[in-house]
């Protein structure tokens, strides 16, 4: 691995490399902090976690298999995805009925869900708790849904329409703006506003 490749290491990769160091003293931490200043806060948090982790006991009895089953299903989904798909569209498998039903479950309307699907909303403004709920209903991880929402807004194909102007990607709006402009009921708007981080 070249120095250039190293400079592009993700936060997770840097923390993993740090975690397997023989010691996690000040000298090691300082070395990583100087090498990866962009991950300074994560490295500090990780070094403390490694320090306190040794005092924890994990002899907690877990009786249910639910979480393990869920993880197995997640594994099977990801492992069967084609190799060249980098960011999966979690909405791709939904037919119109399932799409409407999803909107209902989230207590939002189709218009807002379409805006989310088409990435017409600035991902950073979407409350974390809402992304988690959306991911849970879609049977995906919040991470993969966020990854999809963060990718550039799409010009959705498969929709036919006539227009005198060239179709273009819609400009993204904030989640707060989307709540106001999506013809939601007041109760729905209030519930979504309460989810703000």
């Amino acid at each position: 691995m070249t120095a250039e490749q190293y400079s592009r290491l993700s936060e997770e990769e840097v923390l993993l490399a740090f975690s397997v160091e023989p010691t996690h003293d000040r000298k090691t931490l300082e070395q990583y902090l100087r090498e990866y200043p962009e991950h300074a806060k994560a490295l500090a948090a990780c070094s403390i976690e490694l320090m306190v982790d040794a005092t924890r006991s994990d002899d907690v009895a877990v009786t249910s298999e639910d979480a393990v089953d869920r993880a197995w299903q997640r594994f099977q989904t990801v492992v069967s995805q084609p190799g060249d798909v980098l960011v999966t569209n979690p909405f791709a498998m939904l037919n119109p009925t399932a799409f409407k039903s999803l909107a209902k479950k989230l207590d939002i309307n189709n218009l807002l869900l379409i805006r989310l699907r088409d990435r017409a909303i600035v991902a950073a403004t979407i409350p974390r708790r809402f992304v988690q709920r959306l991911a849970s209903e879609l049977g995906a991880t919040a991470e993969s849904v966020m990854e999809y929402l963060q990718s550039p807004p799409a010009m959705v194909s498969g929709h036919s329409f006539r227009s005198s102007v060239k179709p273009a990607v819609t400009e993204q709006i904030s989640f707060a703006e989307a709540i106001e402009k999506s013809q939601l009921t007041l109760a729905q708007q209030d519930a979504l506003k309460a989810l703000q981080d």
């Binding site: 975690s19 806060k41 990780c46 403390i48 320090m51 982790d53 002899d59 393990v68 197995w72 988690q132």
Partner: protein, 261 residues
């Protein structure tokens, strides 16, 4: 012979498993598959014959490479059970709001990492064959930074004050005395263990300040080349001092309570 790790260090050399893990792998390679799976199923670390998770990761990857899907699923489930057990301790229902959802999300993310490793994309699982618990703590830290609650619910004393508020000179002096005044006491392994466990009860912002202090970092410095806590956490030195003082007050209360029991 166990297959060497592929992941390279910055200096170009390959990562290596610790000798004790290599010894486990060599020993387990001589055991029948069914017996090996039986041994993997021992969950408690305290049990005799508990196989380290590093070895489970090795045999999990090997089962996938050899197309042994049934064995792969069995090892996957045992490994995930261990992970869930460890997460239940760190992210317990009494400690964090929405703990169950957070635990499930972390497990799902780890399942994705395994899937990507099976597809030969990342090689990140090499780290888990070296020091599983440490690597998983790193993975968990990164995940929690993205999805965890911003405030840990289990906060021993009032900590909702604004970082900008001034702390009295008396409290500041007491904090400095507690965290830095008695190096001999901090060198005592029993006290340090007790203190570390108490630190785990603090909110994240205070935990980081105290942890960095204990590692020997200073709060601030005029010398720009010195790595200070204020620089690491990218905040004002007054904020660091305030967090330290609140942490100190909370730690005293926790330790006094522990010792009174």
């Amino acid at each position: 012979m166990p297959e060497p790790l592929k992941r390279k260090k910055k200096d170009g050399t390959s990562y290596e498993r610790p000798p004790e893990i290599e010894a486990w792998l060599k020993k387990l390679e001589t055991v029948e598959v069914a017996e090996r799976l039986r041994q993997f199923a021992t969950l408690s670390r305290k049990s005799l014959g508990h196989v380290p998770s590093e070895a489970l990761v090795y045999f999990l990857r090997r089962a996938w490479a050899e197309g042994m899907q049934g064995d792969f699923e069995k090892i996957f489930r045992i490994l995930m059970k261990r992970i869930e057990q460890s997460l239940c301790s760190v992210i317990s229902d009494s400690r964090m709001a929405g703990a169950r959802g957070i635990r499930e999300e972390i497990m799902d993310r780890f399942a994705e990492r395994i899937a990507k490793d099976c597809k030969g994309r990342t090689g990140l699982l090499d780290f888990y064959e070296i020091r599983f618990d440490k690597a998983f703590a790193a993975f968990r830290t990164s995940a929690l930074r993205q999805i965890g609650p911003s405030v840990v619910d289990m906060v021993p004393l009032g900590t909702n004050e604004d970082d900008g508020l001034e702390i009295s000179a008396e409290v500041e002096a007491a904090a400095a005395d507690f965290l830095g005044g008695d190096p001999e006491k901090l060198d005592d392994p029993a006290f340090r263990l007790e203190l570390t466990a108490a630190i785990d009860c603090l909110p994240d912002d205070q935990k980081q300040v105290v942890g960095l202090l204990l590692q020997g970092f200073q709060i601030d410095s005029k010398d720009k080349n010195v790595m200070t806590i204020a620089r690491i956490l990218q905040c004002d030195e007054r904020t660091v001092r305030n967090r330290r003082d609140r942490a100190s007050k909370a730690l005293k209360a926790i330790l006094q309570k522990e010792n009174a029991l």
